[in-house]
Amino acid sequence: MSYEGVRVDDASAQVSDVTANVTANVAVNATAGVEPASEFSKRLAVLDVTDFSVDYGVGDATVRAVNEVSFSLERSRVLGVAGESGSGKSTLVYALTRLLRAPGVISGGEAVLHVSREDGRVEALNMTTASEAALRSVRWSHVSIVLQSALNALNPVLRVRHEFDEVLKTHRREMSRAQRRARSAQLMALVGLNEDRLARYPHELSGGQRQRVMIALALALEPELVIMDEPTTALDVVTQREIINELNSLRSQFGFAMIFITHDLSLLVELADEIVVMYAGRIVERATAADLYATPMHPYTLGLLNSFPPLSGERRELTGIPGSPPDLSDLPSGCTFHPRCPYAMARCERETPELVVDERRGRSVACWLHVDHDSPPTPVELSGRRLRATVPVGAREEAQ
C-alpha cells in the first residue's frame, strides 16, 4: 500500500506530509460516503492502531495489559471500547496518547495519528515514536481527553477560568486576554453552563457541572479526536443521560471523532458507531453498535449486555457474568474467557482463538464458536439474550 510510505519510524522525522491533493480527494470522498476497505477511507482515518501491545513492568514480572490490538478510527466517528475493570481499555488509550505512566511500556505495534494542520494538509504522526515536542504539538489541539473523575482532573486550587486560560495561552498564543475570556464563556455556554461558573473552584461545582467543564475544556481547541475515559461513570443516571445527549449534539455540531471507554455496553450502543469489546487485554469482538446489540457473537459481549439495563427499550433480565476478570499475571490457557464462559468447549481450554474478520458481515470475533464453519455460525443462541449454560454446542450444530 502506498500508505505505508507515510509511516516513519525515524524519530527525527516522525511527521510526514500527505499532499494537499489527497486532502481534496478526501473531502470529495467524504460527501460520497465511506467505503470500508477503500484507499480513501484509510486516509480519512484519524487514528490507525496496528498490533499494539502494552506491558506493565519489565523482565520476569512483566504483565501484558494490552495484547496486539488493532483498529482504525475514521473522522467524525465514535469508537466505543467496552470491557470490565482490568480488561486493558484505559491502558490502551493512555498508551496510544503516550500518557501511560511507569511501569507501563508500549511493547509492540504502532499508533498513527493523522493530524489535520491549519493549511489543510494531513500529517501522519507515529505516536509510539514521537518526541516530547511532537507530542506537545498535537496534545489537546488535536487529541484531548476527558477523565472519569472531573473532581480529580481539575486542579483543586485553581479557578475554572484558569484551566481554560492555560490551554488557550499554550496553544493559541495569538489570542488576547479578552479573546480568551470570550472563548471561555462561549465554551461554557456550549455545554450549558453560565459563564459565572468560570470564577468558581472545582469543589464549588456539582459533579455534572464539573464533567461539563471538562467536556468544554476538551473542545476548547476543536480537536479531531476526543478520548472519553468513562466520563459518566461517576455521575447519576439523570446527569449521565444529559451528558450523553450533550455529547451527541456537540458531535453533530463539531464533527470530532471520539473514543468512548466504558464498561456500560448499553450506553455505548446509543452513542458509538462501532464497538470493540476487550477482555484480558485483547479485542474479543468488533462490530457496529447495531450489530453488536442485535446479535452479539462473543459470549462475553452477551454477558456485558446482560449486565446493564438498557437506557431505553424493553426491559430484560439482568444476569451478569459469573466469576471475575482474570489475573493478568496468570492468564487461563487457551481462550482467556473459557473459565467464565457458559459455552466453553474442550478446545477453548487448549487453543487461543484469533480475532477473525468476517468480511461478509463486516465484523470480527475471537471465539471458537464462530470459526471453522463454511457459513457464518448462527449467533441465534447468543442473540436470544439468555445465557443458557452448558448447552452442548455440537448438538446444536448437528440439529441445523
Binding site: L99, L135, L147, A153, N155, E166, T170, H171
Partner: protein, 326 residues
C-alpha cells in the same frame, strides 16, 4: 467574612490567655527575685535598703493579685514590661536590642532553608528514582548530626583554620553600628557561616516533605491532565507543586514562630547577641521581669506566625474557605 472574624476572635482569646499565664507563672513559682538579688549582694542589707530595692522594681506597693493583674495589663498596653533585675535597664529596651539580631539571623536562615529545600524537593519529587535521590541521605545526615556539633566543627574548619568566614559575634569590632553599607555588609559577612550551618542542618526536612508531597501529587489526575493538555514541562510541574507546597506552608509558619526562641545553640556557638543568649542569662540569674518579657515576645510571635499561616493557607487553598455549617 464571618470565618475571618471568628478566627481573629480566637486569636484574641488565645493571646489573652497567654498574657495571663505569663503573669501568673512567676507568681506561682517558688523563690523570690528580690531574695536572689539580695543574696548576691555582699555585706549587711538593712530593711530600708530592701524596701528601696523593691520600690525601684515597682514591687513596693502591697497589692492584691487581682489589682496586680490589672496593673500588669495596663503597663503591658503601654509597652512597659518592667525593669530587668540583673541588667538594670527596662526589659523593652533590652528586647529592642536583641530581638532584631535573632529575627534577622534565624529568619533569613529559615527562609533560605525553606526556599532551597522546597525547590530541591520539587525537583526530586518530579525526577524520583533518578541518581539525584542520593541528595536525600546526604541532607538527612546533616540534620541528624547534633546541631552544636555540626556548628562547632564548621566554625573550627571554615572559621578558625581556613579563615573563609569571620568568627565570633554579629559584626567586627572595627565598624560602628549604623545604617550604612559598611556596617550592613559586615553584618552579612558575619552572618554567612551561622546561616549556612542552620540551612545545612534544617534543609532536609523541607526537602523530604516537599518531595514526598510531589510524588503523591504527580500521581493525581490533574497532573496527568496537565500533560495531556500539552503544557510545557515547567507548567506541568507547577500544577503539582502548587498543591504539594500546602503542607510546607503550614510548617513554615510554625518554623517562623520558633524563630525568636529557637536560636539558643546558634547564638552560643557563634557568640551572637540575640534572644537565645539573653534568655539563658535571664534564667541563670532568675531575672523574672526579663524572662517574662522574653516569653511574652515568643508567645506573641508564635501567635502571629499562626495567623500568617492561616491567611496564607486561606489564600492558597480555596477549599479552606468553605464555611463549615455549625
Amino acid at each position: 467574612m464571618r470565618l475571618v472574624t471568628r478566627r481573629l476572635g480566637l486569636y484574641a482569646v488565645t493571646a489573652w490567655v497567654a498574657v495571663t499565664v505569663n503573669f501568673l507563672l512567676p507568681r506561682l513559682m517558688p523563690g523570690n527575685p528580690i531574695q536572689t538579688l539580695i543574696g548576691k549582694l555582699t555585706g549587711q542589707v538593712t530593711p530600708g535598703e530592701i524596701r528601696a530595692i523593691r520600690l525601684s522594681f515597682g514591687l513596693g506597693f502591697h497589692q492584691g493579685l487581682i489589682a496586680q493583674y490589672f496593673t500588669y495589663l495596663t503597663q503591658l498596653l503601654h509597652g512597659n514590661l518592667g525593669v530587668s533585675i540583673t541588667l538594670g535597664a527596662t526589659v523593652s529596651s533590652i528586647l529592642r536590642q536583641s530581638v532584631p539580631w535573632t529575627v534577622g539571623l534565624i529568619g533569613v536562615s529559615t527562609i533560605v532553608s525553606f526556599a532551597v529545600g522546597t525547590f530541591a524537593g520539587t525537583w526530586l519529587g518530579w525526577t524520583r528514582g533518578s541518581r539525584l535521590d542520593s541528595l536525600i541521605p546526604t541532607a538527612t545526615f546533616f540534620q541528624a548530626v547534633p546541631y552544636f556539633f555540626l556548628a562547632t566543627v564548621m566554625l573550627l574548619i571554615f572559621g578558625s583554620d581556613l579563615h573563609w568566614f569571620p568568627v565570633l559575634g554579629a559584626y567586627s569590632q572595627n565598624v560602628t553600628p549604623g545604617w550604612n553599607w559598611t556596617f550592613v555588609s559586615n553584618v552579612i559577612r558575619y552572618g554567612e557561616l551561622p546561616v549556612i550551618s542552620i540551612v545545612l542542618s534544617s534543609v532536609a526536612g523541607w526537602m523530604l516533605g516537599m518531595r514526598n508531597m510531589m510524588i503523591t501529587m504527580v500521581g493525581e489526575d490533574f497532573v496527568l491532565m496537565a500533560v495531556a493538555k500539552g503544557l510545557p514541562r515547567r507548567r506541568v510541574i507547577m500544577h503539582a507543586a502548587r498543591n504539594a507546597i500546602l503542607p510546607s506552608i503550614a510548617n513554615l509558619s510554625l518554623a517562623i514562630g520558633l524563630v525568636v526562641s529557637g536560636a539558643l545553640l546558634v547564638e552560643l556557638v557563634f557568640n551572637y547577641p540575640g534572644v537565645g543568649d539573653l534568655l539563658l542569662q535571664a534564667v541563670l540569674n532568675e531575672d523574672y521581669p526579663l524572662i517574662q518579657g522574653i516569653f511574652l515576645v515568643i508567645t506573641l510571635t508564635v501567635l502571629a506566625a499562626n495567623l500568617i499561616a492561616d491567611v496564607a493557607y486561606f489564600a492558597l487553598d480555596p477549599r479552606t474557605r468553605t464555611e463549615v455549617a455549625t
